[in-house]
Amino acid sequence: MDGARRIVAGLEAAGVTLAASVPDTWIGRLMQAVRGSAKIRAVDVAREEEAVAIACGASLAGGRGAVLIQNAGLLNCGGILAGLVELYRIPCFFIVSYRGDWRDPVYYHAPKGRVTEATLSAWRLPYAVADRAADLAAQVARGVTFAVESRGPFVLLISGEDLQ
């Protein structure tokens, strides 16, 4: 099973019912695997804040929403994280492609990579960088569980390598 399918298995095991996404190259591959799930509704959106609100709506209505976006999109989401997720204490699990870190061969992503973890820390968002040598499905399920139990956000950063 490739990494993308292991991540989807983790989402399914954690009870995720809806995944809202704006794709990039990596997240697009992951969403292809999500579309193969009989348990998760894939929702294509136009901008990342929508994905957050849609996932929160699913969670408020009794499901479990997840947000699958690029780190550029996460940087768009400061307002809604503060004004919806944190203010109303809604579980919200993110899988975010970590563009611009040392594993990313595309030069123009580098500025985003430099600020990603610093921004997560400044926004006080709990996060982890996926470890492809360990059990990816379990890392995903732990992240979802953390979001549910803390009634807040959790961000799992992934690389393209993690999807292989």
Partner: protein, 184 residues
């Protein structure tokens, strides 16, 4: 033009316990605790542009409930992309009421950027299947049942009077209270 409160009262009178109401920040969210609403209410006090996608997520999760979103023209102008997202997801159980008064009422009544936006045309162009202009309360009473029965995402464009002297009650519920009470 029709003031806000008669529109809101007419809408609330048409809701049922099987519905879900999601309100944008501002006057609607501030009035709602003072009305008897038969449906669960999730009212925002921040996060402009969030009401429609929040309602969309609920509608997709709960196809057995009809979800009604209240959004302002200033909020939708900030994130009109959501119209295409709604059209693409195409839930049959989502009705949006767009409150058009041309002002950022909550922040002091500043005017929106002075473009003559055709809201109904914008929604139709984005692919929202059922769109109706609503000039007054009588029209709302006729249009809302049609929207509910449309079997596709609906958007009603309400022409709302802006009154800078309107006495709008302050927020009377904390987010944690709204969150705790919201059960569907």
């Amino acid at each position: 033009m029709t003031p806000r409160k008669p529109f809101l009262e007419a809408l609330v009178a048409m809701l049922t316990p099987g519905d879900i109401l999601v309100s944008c920040l501002g006057a609607n969210a501030r009035y709602l605790p003072h009305l008897t609403v038969p449906a669960p209410v999730f009212a925002l006090c921040d996060s402009m542009g969030t009401a429609i996608p929040l309602a969309l997520g609920m509608a997709l999760q709960r196809p057995d409930r009809h979800v009604v979103a209240l959004e302002g023209d200033g909020s939708l102008l900030m994130s009109p992309n959501v119209l295409a997202t709604v059209a693409a997801a195409c839930p049959p159980n989502l009705t949006t009421l767009l409150w058009v008064n041309g002002h950022y009422e909550s922040s002091g009544g500043q005017p929106l950027p002075g473009a003559p936006v055709d809201w109904a045309g914008l929604a139709r162009a984005a692919g929202v299947p059922h769109v109706e202009p609503v000039p007054d309360v009588a029209a709302l009473r006729a249009a809302f049942p049609r929207a509910r029965a449309a079997g596709a995402p609906a958007l009603l464009v309400l022409a709302v009077a802006f009154n800078p002297d309107e006495t709008i009650p302050p927020y009377s519920e904390r987010p944690e209270e709204i969150r705790a009470r919201f059960r569907v």
